[in-house]
Subunit: 661 residues, 2 copies
């Protein structure tokens, strides 16, 4: 029985067309849809008991799934694209993520042609399993502070890899703890007692025969992490190296070469190449953010339409909680954010191609801007997504707290995205640094490019005032854009002005860093709004599709405008009257989206398997499924719980004195 059928009939647009827009193209949609269904229909990929498993069982099951997925990939001769989608829909964090997502790209990006030829075929066939060992117990954000050493030994033509202190133990790398046979280990290169900075080295960790750690290597798992199931399927590991010798050829030498004599030679490959990889990794993270948020929003939206509470009149049905304006005010901006992040992710993907082409043509001019922009968007989208998932969980009331809602695990497994690949605060400080530099160059030869080009209109933006007079005026893209541009500009400029009062700029930067972070956020929000608006300038086929996206775009922008109205008012971009009009408009946009809400989350095309949530199931048949699922908890194996005779009965019978506890 489809509890949500009536909701679906209300939709004022064509869901199938929206699915294509969401997927990015018909091709993407088709591949995704096929792989999602393949995984969903295969009992080998079931995950419904994941949150109940103890660590060892859980991990063993992940090993099984990873092997099984690979088997299927080989059997079905899946393309690289299909294979990566299949892994994605298996939806279980595993050592293979690091193998494919970090180990292989590190070799591709930092290895010479020769090294690539040696290692990549092994990696592609999974004859070796690799991980990415950068972070140490004592150093994460500050990569330059890593303590592991790789000392060149002239005599043997080897590097001696060593962990000189406790804090130099590698700590966190995924796949390291139990599964990997190899790692790219980042270490301080030492030649002739000279510190040559941090470089990557391929280190074999375990025997390919019996999987035992090689001599000098101490290795293990770092222990349980946040949440049931979730990231505990991953063997994040600890690694100590005790004078482990590797051939000189195992240093990744694309950028810097160490010769037989121990000389360091900078190659003609530009160092900036690493930024290209960073842009790549971060655009993937932004795409992930939109996907994770869309899952949470899908669950909360469907459940909010099923859940009824209060408001029954004359014994009729109660109000669907999705009809409460407070619920809409918490939920719909997240729905809009999922779409917004999707489109900015799409654009970042384009940016990556653009940057790569420029790099190949030795054009580094847009690199700092691209770097700042991806850093900022990584920070913005992951923070918003983590918070958004938790908000969706709360939107489901008590039942959202059950693992069977899928939301606790989604949160727990998602939230480290705020920390890895750059701590979100540290990243915003980088964005701020770039913005201040951009401001300082205004009026000079160097024109602001890309996502900062709006600053070229600094004079206008410093003094313009919004001319919105009625609520509907806030629907105009130009009105929104000007307000966001003016706010971002003024916040950056204000910071720059305050900074100029410090004699030591670094001290000033440190002192004002909280304000600088706010300016960076304003800039990043502007990027997201801009890219959404740009998307809407494209032709978007399908009945009613564009109208829905316009409403979502406006919700995204006006919700931010309301939430950050302090910024807009303090900088004088808008008046409080205008802020209030924007808020009125926002409310009426909610009413516009309401009948389309279910269809808008259907457009994500998530299978019930992928969602992994009873509250979010497609047919909305929540209560019978919740009830049924409960009985599967191991605690329900017996009616009288294990421990009754030892602990409950003596308590009730007042016989504790003699009980063994």
């Amino acid at each position: 029985m489809d509890q949500l059928g009536e909701e679906r009939r209300k939709a004022q647009f064509d869901v199938d067309d929206m699915k294509i827009v969401w997927a990015g193209s018909r091709h993407n949609f088709e591949v995704s849809d096929r792989m999602a269904k393949l995984v969903a229909s295969d009992p080998g990929f079931r995950k419904d008991t994941r949150t109940m498993l103890a660590r060892k069982e859980l991990f063993k099951n992940t090993l099984r799934k990873a092997a099984y997925a690979w088997k299927r990939i080989v059997e079905l001769r899946l393309s690289e694209e299909e294979a990566s989608k299949l892994r994605f829909y298996v939806d279980e964090t595993a050592f293979t993520d690091l193998h494919w997502g970090m180990f292989v790209p590190a070799i591709k990006g930092q290895g010479t042609e020769e090294q690539q030829q040696k290692w990549l075929p092994l990696a592609y066939k999974m004859k070796i399993i690799g991980c990415y060992a950068q972070t140490e117990l004592g150093h994460g954000s500050n990569v330059q502070g890593l303590e592991t050493t790789a000392t060149f030994d002239h005599q043997t033509d080897e590097f001696v890899m060593h962990s000189p202190t406790l804090t130099s133990s590698k700590w966190w790398p995924g796949g390291l703890g139990k599964a990997s046979t190899h790692a790219v280990v980042y270490a301080r290169l030492i030649t002739d007692d000279q510190d040559q900075g941090i470089h990557g080295f391929i280190v074999q960790l375990r025997s390919l025969e019996d999987h035992l750690p090689l001599p000098g290597i101490t290795i293990g798992d770092i222990g349980m992490k946040f949440g049931n199931g979730g990231y505990n399927t991953m063997d994040n590991g600890v690694l100590r190296l005790d004078h482990v010798r590797i051939p000189r050829s195992h240093m990744l030498m694309r950028v810097l070469q160490v010769t037989r004599e121990g000389k360091c030679i900078q190659s003609d490959v530009p160092r900036q190449l690493v930024y290209g990889t960073m842009v790549y990794v971060r655009q993937a993270i932004v795409a992930d953010a939109s996907c994770a948020l869309s899952r949470a929003v899908c669950i909360a939206t469907r459940y909010s339409a099923v859940r009824r509470q209060f408001g029954s009149q004359n014994g009729g049905p109660e109000t669907q909680v999705i009809d409460y304006k407070t619920q809409q005010n918490r939920l719909f901006p997240l729905l809009a954010s999922a779409y917004a992040f999707r489109f900015v992710g799409e654009w970042l993907n384009w940016l990556y191609t653009d940057v790569t082409q420029r790099l190949q043509a030795n054009d580094f001019s847009t690199l700092p801007e691209a770097h700042a922009c991806t850093a900022g968007l990584k920070s913005l989208t992951t923070t918003a997504t983590a918070d958004g998932i938790e908000e969706c969980r709360k939107l489901c009331g008590g039942h959202g707290y059950l693992c069977s809602s899928g939301l606790p695990e989604l949160f727990a497994v998602y939230v480290p995205a705020c920390t890895y690949e750059g701590d979100n605060t540290v990243l915003l400080l980088q964005v701020a640094r770039f913005l201040i530099k951009t401001v300082s160059q205004l009026g000079s030869e160097k024109k602001p490019v890309g996502t900062t080009s709006y600053m070229g209109r600094v004079e206008h933006l410093m003094q313009c005032r919004s001319d919105t007079q009625r609520a509907e005026d806030w629907l105009k893209p130009s009105a929104i854009l000007e307000a966001f541009e003016a706010r971002a500009t003024r916040m950056s400029v204000a910071c720059a002005q305050k900074l100029s009062k410090f004699s030591n700029p670094e001290e000033g930067f440190a002192e004002l860093s909280a304000d600088l972070v706010e300016a960076a956020v304003a800039h990043c929000q502007l990027i997201v709004v801009t890219k959404f608006l740009e998307k809407l300038q494209q032709e978007i086929p399908g009945k009613g599709v564009k109208q829905q996206l316009e409403a979502l775009c406006n919700i995204y922008a006006l919700f931010l405008l309301h939430k950050y109205q302090g910024d807009f008012l303090a900088t004088g971009c808008i008046t409080s009257k205008q802020a209030s009009l924007a808020n009125d408009q926002l409310r009426s946009l909610y009413s516009q989206v309401r009948p389309n809400a279910i269809a808008l989350v259907d457009a994500f095309n998530h299978t019930d398997h992928f969602l992994g949530s009873i509250l979010g199931c497609y047919d909305g048949n929540v209560y019978p499924k919740l009830y049924e699922a409960a009985w599967k908890d191991p605690l329900n194996d017996s009616v009288v719980p294990d421990g009754y005779h030892e602990y409950i009965r003596p308590l009730l019978k007042q016989e504790l004195r003699t009980a063994r506890l």
Copy 2:
């Protein structure tokens, strides 16, 4: 080795005196300190492997601890106060929480003298174990919508307790699933086919001999909840009643009596009594909020002083991350909030006594205000605490994501406080309703009382403008107070004005509910600020103690002022210049607090056992302990993981085709 010794020496106040202030009195401090140490030193209460246990083991261990705690309580002849503190420091959510915290109070509050005499002695000795069964699968927030029926049977003088639908299954009650022998079941009383509303009934669930469910009773656990360990020690349960008969005397009849003839007789006990209980429960929740937040803040503060990242000059030590302004700007307001919530909790405790006395004197005049105020403060403090714990976790970077940091479990176990005892949004809507009523009565006979009395100065507050001219002016209590009062008043009045434009007030209320919630938040924040300021008007002994509290109070207020500057500016209470001055002042308060930060968290007097966090340990010796703890994960039982032979080796050896997966 005390890594934090130097930090402790920097403190500019007497920590021991602050401990007394935090505890509320010397007596409180001594009892708490004694019980905390008792628990911490007893290996029977260890909890360091809790997050690694599978559900059944975990639950069995909780049963053991609960029995053991009771045994110790009896052996040591602890007073009620001591016993409850001991349970608190055991720090493991258990069926006993509901027994003592809900079952006993329900009987006390809703049972007749006779019923109390019958049931309480049994409960006090734990000869029976009780739980509180209100929520159903289909109804939580809307208690009036509960579907379970209690139909009076004239013939037998019994009630027939029944679950007529799937959604009427009781769902969530803690302790119900496995441990309880009895429950107070809330059900719709039916006499002579007349619906008499929701009342409480004592229902025996399980045999006292063999713990098997009694006839007609289906009962079980509802399954895993958010997080490792955490709330999974609790057997939140499901209960279906199939025409279960209980004696008429088992209905709790303090307010409404059902006679032998099935007549309903309202007793002369005022119905409002239930509100007294609510005030009690919610003040306890606010006290818990300050405690939970203080734990997270203690962990994050200590670790932020140990953790160093970047900023090494000439090979010297790197910067402690606590010295970064962004870190301070995220952490210190939470430190201030912990203190703020502590004091508002203290005041609520007084309010409860006050309300109780008034009720006894049949004075109900302050009840609506007390009710709104506790509802609002419950919502405000639990939301801020849940968010604050997660922020503290992020402040610890990657290591905060490990269970050994203690923060994941603290978050997961705390966060349902935003949902139970009133969903936080639903509560704020109640506050808003009260505020609108208060505004509508301004100028009438009925003067605003208690926490709304500031509205009596509505005329002044509607037109006043802050006279702060320098940053230091924001240190004046009067400046802060006026700004917060003006903001709260104006937001409520603005809502009331908008509401008056609707012909149907209920429709207006629904339409504007998002704005109304914001007004309610503004009002609640004002209460917290006010109570903190009032606390500072008392005499507070101890070297430097009051100065520290003043700084924290100002941080709390000015941080809110900055975060919500949109409200303050939109309502014209302050100018953007003044907002910026407040922010400058805030920054300099951070510098003032910085040298005292460690001592300020030491003042919470949390034992290492209670904190349950390696990152937060008293001696700051974080790295060796993290390293050591990692090896205890079950995954490290063997060097080569379980599953290697089945899944990893065939993968590496390209032998998957024939593998059984």
